[in-house]
C-alpha cells in the first residue's frame, strides 16, 4: 500500500466527519455523512478489508443515508448547531 | 445437664402462625374465629408447659432448622430463661385473647380479623425470640415482632395513629438496623459464631473501648426495652387498642427487648468478660437513669395509659439493672421481674381498657370517684399497682426483694438507693389514682353510685391476672426456680 493514499483518504475522512457535525442543515449533514462513509469504505478497501468495505459501501453510504434522508423527510432539516 | 433434640419448640412457635390462614378464612364468623384463637393459645401454652419439667431438671431442648453459615444457624434452644419468658407470654396470651374479645366487641372496632391475625403473628415472633439459640435467630424474630406489631399500633388508621406508627418504626427499626445489625455482624466477623454460650463468645478479640462501644450498641439497639433515650416510642404506641398495649407493650414486645439485652450480656459477652472490663457499671448506670427519669415523667402524665407506659419503661430497666449487677441474686431478681411485672402491669392495662370500654374515659383527672362505679376493676387495679410498687402480698415484692439483695451482694449502695427511690416514686404515681377513685367527696365524684362494669369478657381476665399477681407472692416457685436456674447457668455453674 502506498502510504500517501492512505493519508489523503484519512484526511478526507476526518474532514467529512467534522463537516458533517458542524454544518447547519441536516440534509447537508446526511450527504456529508454519506461521503464520510464512502471515504471510510475507501480507506478500508485500501487496507485490504474488502468485505468490510463492501458492506460499508452498501450500508453506510447507501442504506443508512437513505434512512437518514427518510427521517429528515418526516422530521425537519432545521438544526441550531 | 442433658441436651435433648425435640421438635416441640418449633411447634410452639408455629402454632399461632398456622392459625392465621384459618383466622382469615373465618373472618365472616367472629365466634368461630375467636374460638380458634383460644384453641391455638391453649395448644401453644400446653406445648410450652410440657417442656417445663425437662427444663426444670436443668436440661436444654435444641432444634436446628436451617444452616446459614457456620455458627449462625436458624436454630432453637430452650433454656430456663427462654422457658420463663415463653411461659409468661403464652399464658398471658390466652387471657388477653379473652379480654380482647370483650374489648373489641365492646367498642365495635373495625378490621378485627386483621387485628387478631397480626396479634397471632406477634406472638409467634415472641415465642420464637424466647427460644432462639443464637443471636441471628433472635434478631430474626425481633424484627418479625417489630413489623407484625406495626399494623396493631396503627390499627385506628387516623392521623394520630399514623404519627405514632412513624415514631414506633423510626425507633424500633432504626435502632435494630442501625445499631444491632452492624454490632451483630461485627461479632460474627470477630469470632465466627453467634451462639449464646454461657461464658460468652469472645476470647480476647476485643479491647476495652471496642467492647464498650459494642455493648452500648446492643443495649441501645434493642430499643424495645425502652432504655432512654430510645424510649419515646412506647408512650406513642399507646394509641393502639388496649389489648395490644396490655400484652405487647407491657409483656411481649418490651420484654423481648429486655430479654435480648439479657441474652447478649450473658450469652455473647459473658459475665466474666464484662466483670473483667467492669462494663456492667455502664449498663447499670443507663438503667438507673432510665428508672428515675421515667418515674418522674410518669408523675406528670394525665392520660392513664401513658402513665402506665412510663411506668413500664422504668420497670423494664429494673430488669436490665438486675442483670447488669452480674451477681446471682441480682440476676435472679431481674429475670424474675420479667414474670412479676408482666402479671402486674397487664392487670393495670386491662383495667385501663375496661374503664375505657365502660365509660369512655382516658384521663386520670376524669376518674375521680370511679371506684364506686367500677369496684371490681379498681380493686384489681389496686392489686396490680401494689405489685408494681413492690409491696407484699404481691409477686412484685419478691422480685424487688431479690434485686435489693443483689445490690447488697454486689455492694452497690447507689443502686440500692435508686431502687428504693423509684419505689417511692412508683407509689407516688399510682396511689393518687386509687385514692381519688375511692376516697372523694360527693361534689368531686364524677360518677353516680350505679355500677357500670365493663362486659364480662373484660372483667374476668383482669380479675384472673390480679389473682395470679397475688398468688405469686405465695407460690413463686416455677418462675423463681427458672430464674435461679438461669442465673446459675449464666454465672457458670
Amino acid at each position: 500500500m502506498y502510504w500517501p493514499i492512505d493519508l489523503i483518504v484519512l484526511t478526507f475522512v476526518i474532514f467529512c466527519a467534522i463537516a458533517a457535525i458542524v454544518v447547519k442543515d441536516l440534509l447537508a449533514t446526511a450527504i456529508l455523512f454519506g461521503a464520510y462513509s464512502f471515504m471510510m469504505c475507501l480507506l478500508w478497501a485500501v487496507m485490504g478489508a474488502v468485505d468490510v468495505a463492501f458492506t460499508e459501501a452498501s450500508v453506510g453510504a447507501g442504506v443508512s443515508t437513505v434512512f437518514f434522508v427518510a427521517a429528515i423527510f418526516r422530521t425537519s432539516r432545521r438544526t441550531k448547531d | 445437664m442433658q441436651t435433648i433434640i425435640s421438635i416441640k419448640p418449633l411447634l410452639a412457635v408455629l402454632v399461632s402462625l398456622f392459625v392465621i390462614p384459618v383466622l382469615i378464612s373465618s373472618s365472616g364468623k367472629p365466634n368461630v374465629r375467636e374460638s380458634w384463637i383460644f384453641v391455638s393459645g391453649v395448644i401453644k401454652f400446653l406445648i410450652i408447659f410440657s417442656m417445663l419439667p425437662v427444663i426444670l431438671q436443668g436440661n436444654q431442648i435444641v432444634l436446628t432448622l436451617f444452616k446459614i453459615s457456620p455458627g449462625a444457624d436458624i436454630a432453637f434452644r430452650v433454656d430456663a430463661l427462654g422457658m420463663l419468658f415463653a411461659l409468661v407470654a403464652s399464658s398471658l396470651y390466652i387471657i388477653t385473647s379473652i379480654y380482647s374479645i370483650g374489648y373489641m366487641r365492646g367498642l365495635n372496632e373495625h378490621g378485627q380479623t386483621r387485628f387478631v391475625s397480626f396479634f397471632a403473628l406477634a406472638l409467634t415472633a415472641t415465642i420464637g425470640a424466647a427460644f432462639s439459640a443464637n443471636l441471628l435467630t433472635l434478631y430474626l424474630f425481633y424484627e418479625l415482632l417489630s413489623l407484625s406489631t406495626y399494623p396493631l399500633v396503627v390499627h385506628h388508621q387516623d392521623a394520630k395513629s399514623r404519627a405514632s406508627g412513624r415514631r414506633y418504626l423510626t425507633f424500633i427499626l432504626g435502632t435494630s438496623i442501625g445499631l444491632v445489625l452492624p454490632a451483630m455482624i461485627y461479632c460474627y466477623h470477630a469470632t465466627g459464631t453467634l451462639e449464646f454460650a454461657p461464658g460468652g463468645i469472645f476470647s480476647g478479640q476485643l479491647s476495652k473501648p471496642s467492647a464498650t462501644v459494642l455493648l452500648l450498641m446492643f443495649v441501645f439497639g434493642f430499643a424495645k426495652s425502652g432504655i432512654m433515650p430510645f424510649h419515646s416510642w412506647l408512650p406513642a404506641a399507646m394509641v393502639a387498642p388496649t389489648p395490644v398495649s396490655a400484652l405487647l407493650h407491657a409483656v411481649a414486645v418490651v420484654k423481648v427487648g429486655v430479654f435480648s439485652i439479657i441474652r447478649v450480656v450473658t450469652g455473647i459477652f459473658g459475665v466474666d468478660f464484662l466483670l473483667s472490663f467492669n462494663l456492667g457499671a455502664w449498663v447499670a448506670t443507663i438503667a438507673s437513669i432510665t428508672i428515675v427519669v421515667s418515674s418522674c415523667i410518669a408523675l406528670t402524665q394525665d392520660e392513664l395509659k401513658r402513665r402506665l407506659a412510663y411506668s413500664t419503661i422504668g420497670q423494664l430497666s429494673y430488669i436490665v439493672l438486675g442483670v447488669a449487677l452480674l451477681t446471682p441474686k441480682g440476676m435472679t431478681g431481674g429475670m424474675l421481674h420479667i414474670a412479676m411485672h408482666a402479671f402486674g402491669k397487664i392487670t393495670l392495662f386491662f383495667c385501663a381498657g375496661a374503664i375505657f370500654v365502660a365509660t369512655g374515659k382516658k384521663y386520670i383527672s376524669q376518674m375521680v370517684g370511679i371506684g364506686k362505679a367500677m369496684p371490681i376493676t379498681m380493686a384489681a387495679f389496686f392489686m396490680g399497682s401494689l405489685s408494681i410498687i413492690g409491696l407484699p402480698p404481691t409477686g412484685g415484692f419478691i422480685s424487688k426483694w431479690y434485686l435489693v439483695l443483689g445490690t447488697l451482694e454486689g455492694d452497690h449502695m447507689i443502686l440500692l438507693f435508686v431502687i428504693l427511690t423509684s419505689s417511692l416514686l412508683n407509689a407516688a404515681y399510682f396511689m393518687p389514682i386509687f385514692y381519688k377513685a375511692f376516697f372523694c367527696t360527693k361534689e368531686e365524684a364524677m360518677f353516680g353510685a350505679k355500677i357500670v362494669e365493663a362486659p364480662m369478657m373484660c372483667v374476668v381476665p383482669l380479675v384472673i391476672t390480679a389473682l395470679i399477681s397475688f398468688g405469686l407472692f405465695f407460690l413463686p416457685q416455677p418462675f423463681l426456680d427458672l430464674a435461679g436456674l438461669a442465673a446459675k447457668g449464666f454465672l457458670g455453674g
Binding site: 452498501s58 442504506v63 434512512f67 427518510a70 427521517a71 418526516r74 | -
Partner: protein, 274 residues
C-alpha cells in the same frame, strides 16, 4: 454541556492514546493479533471448509454463532421499527386524482373515502408530476440490481460479499422502487405481512440449519453433520451449509431494510412517503 463534553472527550482520548503506547507497529505481520488464532484461520480454513474467502469461512462457520445473532439483531431492528412506528389508524386527509381529467380531489377528515373506482387514483400529498425519466431508468435498473444482489449472496464463498451485503443491495432495490414510483407501489408488490414473514423466515433458516445439525447428532451449527441429508457433495458440505445460511441472512436483511425504510418514511402509515 460543551465544557463537560470537552472534558469527557479529552479524558477518553487520553486513555485511548495511553493504551496505544504498547501497541505493536501498524501493519506488523508479527503482531500477536496476527499470529495466534488468525494464523490458524488462514492456514486451515481452506482445508477444513473448502471456502477460499477466509472472511466468509470465519464469519459463517468458525464464528457462525456470532453471525446468527447478528442476523437476530437485524430482525430485532425491523421488529423494533415496526413496534415503534407502525400506526394502523387511517390517515385523516387524502388526495385523489381523477385520471381522465387530472382534477385533484382533497378528501377531508371524516368524509367518505373513495375506493375502487378505476378513474380515481390515490396519490401522495407531496406528489411531483414529472418523474417519467426517473421511473423508466429505475425500472430498467432494478432487475439488474437484484440480480447483482443474488450474485453477491451466492458468490460470497469466493469473493467479497455474502448474505448481508446481498441482502442490503436487494433491499436497496426495493427502496429504489419506492423512491422512483411511490411507496404504494412497493407496499402493493410486497405486502407488510410478507415482509414480516420473510424477516422471521430468514433468521429461521439460519437457526433451522443449526438445529438440524443438532438433531443429526452434532453440535449446534456443525454443518459437517448435514452430510447424510445432502448426499451428492459431502466434500463441500461445509460450504453448502454456509451458502444455506447466507441465503437466510439475505432474506432477513432484505425484508428488514424494506421494513425500516417503509416505516420511517411513512411514519408507520404505509401510505405515502418519499
Amino acid at each position: 454541556m460543551k465544557f463537560l463534553g470537552f472534558i469527557v472527550v479529552g479524558l477518553a482520548g487520553a486513555i485511548l492514546l495511553y493504551g496505544t503506547g504498547d501497541f505493536p507497529d501498524w501493519g506488523d505481520p508479527y503482531s500477536p493479533a496476527s499470529l495466534h488464532i488468525s494464523k490458524d484461520y488462514i492456514e486451515k480454513a481452506l482445508d477444513q471448509t473448502k471456502v477460499p474467502n477466509i472472511v466468509t469461512a470465519v464469519l459463517a462457520d468458525y464464528r457462525g454463532f456470532d453471525t446468527m445473532f447478528e442476523t437476530a439483531v437485524i430482525f430485532t431492528a425491523g421488529l423494533a421499527c415496526f413496534l415503534l412506528l407502525r400506526d394502523f389508524r387511517e390517515k385523516k386527509e387524502r388526495f385523489y386524482r381523477h385520471t381522465p381529467t387530472g382534477v385533484i380531489l382533497h378528501v377531508k377528515a371524516g368524509k367518505k373515502i373513495l375506493d375502487g373506482g378505476k378513474e380515481f387514483e390515490y396519490m401522495d400529498k407531496d406528489w411531483v408530476p414529472s418523474d417519467l425519466i426517473i421511473k423508466t431508468v429505475c425500472r430498467i435498473l432494478i432487475p439488474f440490481i437484484q440480480i447483482y444482489a443474488l450474485y453477491v449472496v451466492a458468490h460470497g464463498d469466493f469473493s467479497p460479499g455474502g448474505g448481508f451485503q446481498g441482502g442490503v443491495i436487494f433491499g436497496s432495490s426495493l427502496i429504489l422502487l419506492a423512491i422512483s414510483y411511490n411507496l404504494k407501489t412497493l407496499v402493493k408488490r410486497i405486502s407488510e405481512k410478507m415482509l414480516g414473514v420473510y424477516a422471521a423466515l430468514g433468521v429461521l433458516i439460519y437457526l433451522g440449519i443449526g438445529v438440524i445439525c443438532m438433531l443429526m447428532g452434532g453440535q449446534f451449527l456443525d454443518y459437517a453433520k448435514l452430510a447424510p441429508l445432502i448426499p451428492f457433495d459431502s466434500n463441500h458440505i461445509r460450504a453448502l451449509g454456509m451458502l444455506g445460511i447466507e441465503i437466510g441472512v439475505g432474506i432477513a436483511v432484505t425484508a428488514v431494510m424494506a421494513i425500516i425504510y417503509i416505516n420511517i418514511v411513512s411514519e408507520g402509515r404505509h401510505d405515502e412517503g418519499l
